[in-house]
């Protein structure tokens, strides 16, 4: 009886401990998989001028960095982007092909709740999503109860990845 009580107590204590960083997929592995094991060298996109304004409008705040790196082959680009959910940054990977999101993966999750966004039932909503006028997504993304801030962060990052993709593919032309 005492052992059962101890086990229950330890379980309850474990449940209240704040979740540490969860790495679901190493970012480098995500990039490699996106290019079938042969990722190109990274390139850099400077977030300045009009692009910075548009990114700021999407995020609701000015982007923290002056530049972001990406990987590109032809019309396929891969972005590793971060945005704060509630208090901690969520690291996510985006594969954009021909102006549409081909894949979205949650790579590193650091919050104590809202981790449900990493599952397929949420991420597959973004498949084939593209931007409409005003840099809005072409679809509504269903939220998850209790994960509103994480869901909002993903919506923003999806729009940002598509915006950046348009910028690099339209400015450089096809490679």
């Amino acid at each position: 009886m005492k052992r059962r009580l101890l086990l229950i107590a330890l379980t309850l204590i474990a449940c209240t401990v704040q979740a540490a960083e969860e790495v679901y997929l190493e970012p480098s592995q995500f990039v490699s998989e996106a290019f079938d094991g042969s990722p190109p060298e990274p390139a850099q996109l400077w977030i300045t001028g009009d692009l910075r304004e548009q990114a700021g409008a999407i995020l609701g705040h000015s982007p923290a960095n002056l530049r972001t790196r990406y990987w590109r082959k032809g019309l396929r680009t891969v972005w590793i982007l971060e945005e704060i959910g509630k208090e901690q940054p969520i690291t996510s990977g985006f594969v954009v092909q021909d102006g549409s999101i081909e894949a979205l993966r949650i790579l590193i999750y650091r919050e104590s709740r809202g981790w449900e966004i990493r599952h397929d039932f949420f991420t597959r909503q973004f498949k084939d999503a593209h931007l409409q006028d005003g840099n809005r997504l072409d679809r509504d993304i269903d939220g998850i109860a209790g994960a509103t801030l994480s869901v909002n962060a993903m919506r923003k990052l999806a729009r940002l990845a598509l915006l950046y993709h348009h910028h690099v593919t339209e400015n450089d032309g096809n490679r």
């Binding site: 480098s28 995500f30 060298e41 990274p42 390139a43 002056l66 790196r69 704060i84 801030l149």
Partner: protein
């Protein structure tokens, strides 16, 4: 019977007076709790949970008195140091850095400040160029340095070199510079300025709001005062209900007497 009615009347009058004066006395606290409660309910939407406050007077109210940092890393023209979870370029916070700062180097107007699992690239005016995480670093960083042409990053798997843009890393087989980045004594005026500005310690806005709501921000007796206010609200609710019910009863009695 008459005596009983008079006694009840006096009780009701007394209760009404108490109800009125306690209501007046608590009005300010009611407003305080209501406003902070509504803000707390919508803290996420209003962005309080993503905002951080570090004003020195607020930290003093929390009893937080950061010590001036004493060590930093020197690069030409600047000092890099860490306070809390912030990276400071001289006295100015320039980026978030959640892991301990282990080195800094500069090359062609670009400053590299590194922890074991992330590196910060800055312009020499303190603008954040990029935060490099595990996806791009060549491994867990042990030390950083620079030559006249490259940044060097020492990892468990060896030393890697990169140009100032830190886009690509290649194995470096040269000699590790003798003057590699090491912590040095930070100039006192910089340390004092950092401590005076809060030392990099920041409080989450939602937490401050919750402490305002509960009274915890106002010292040991703050929560007790809020408890007293809450008990007063309970009294007001119950006395209000009782007064309403008695008034209703008396109205019905008068109506019955008229009908006779």
């Amino acid at each position: 019977m008459v005596t009983g009615k008079k006694s009840l009347g006096r009780t009701l009058q007394s209760l009404y007076v108490w109800h009125r004066w306690i209501g007046i006395a608590c009005a300010l606290l009611v407003l305080w709790l209501a406003v902070t409660g509504i803000l707390l309910n919508h803290a996420g939407r209003l962005g309080f949970d993503r905002q951080y406050v570090g004003a020195p007077w607020l930290l003093r109210m929390y009893g937080i008195a950061p010590e001036p940092p004493t060590k930093g890393f020197h690069v030409p023209g600047h000092w890099l140091t860490q306070g809390g979870e912030l990276l400071f370029l001289d006295e100015r916070p320039v980026a978030e850095l959640r892991s301990p700062l282990i080195g800094a180097a500069a090359l062609r107007g670009v400053i590299l400040a590194s922890a074991a699992d992330m590196a910060i690239l800055l312009t020499d005016t303190g603008e954040l160029i990029e935060s490099l995480g595990q996806a791009v670093l060549p491994g867990q960083v042990l030390a950083v340095a620079s030559t006249d042409r490259q940044f060097l990053i020492q990892t468990k798997d060896g030393v890697y070199a990169s140009h100032a843009d830190l886009l690509r890393f290649e194995h470096y087989t040269g000699t590790w510079p003798a003057q590699a980045s090491r912590p040095q004594a930070l100039p006192q005026e910089i340390g004092q300025a950092i401590a005076k500005s809060g030392g990099g310690i920041r409080l989450n806005g939602e937490r401050v709001l919750a402490d305002l709501h509960s009274g915890r921000l106002f010292g040991r007796y703050g929560p007790w005062i809020m408890d007293l206010a809450s008990l007063s609200f309970i009294f007001l609710a119950l006395s209000g209900l009782w007064l309403w019910w008695r008034y209703r009863q008396s109205q019905q009695d008068r109506l019955r007497q008229r009908q006779r």
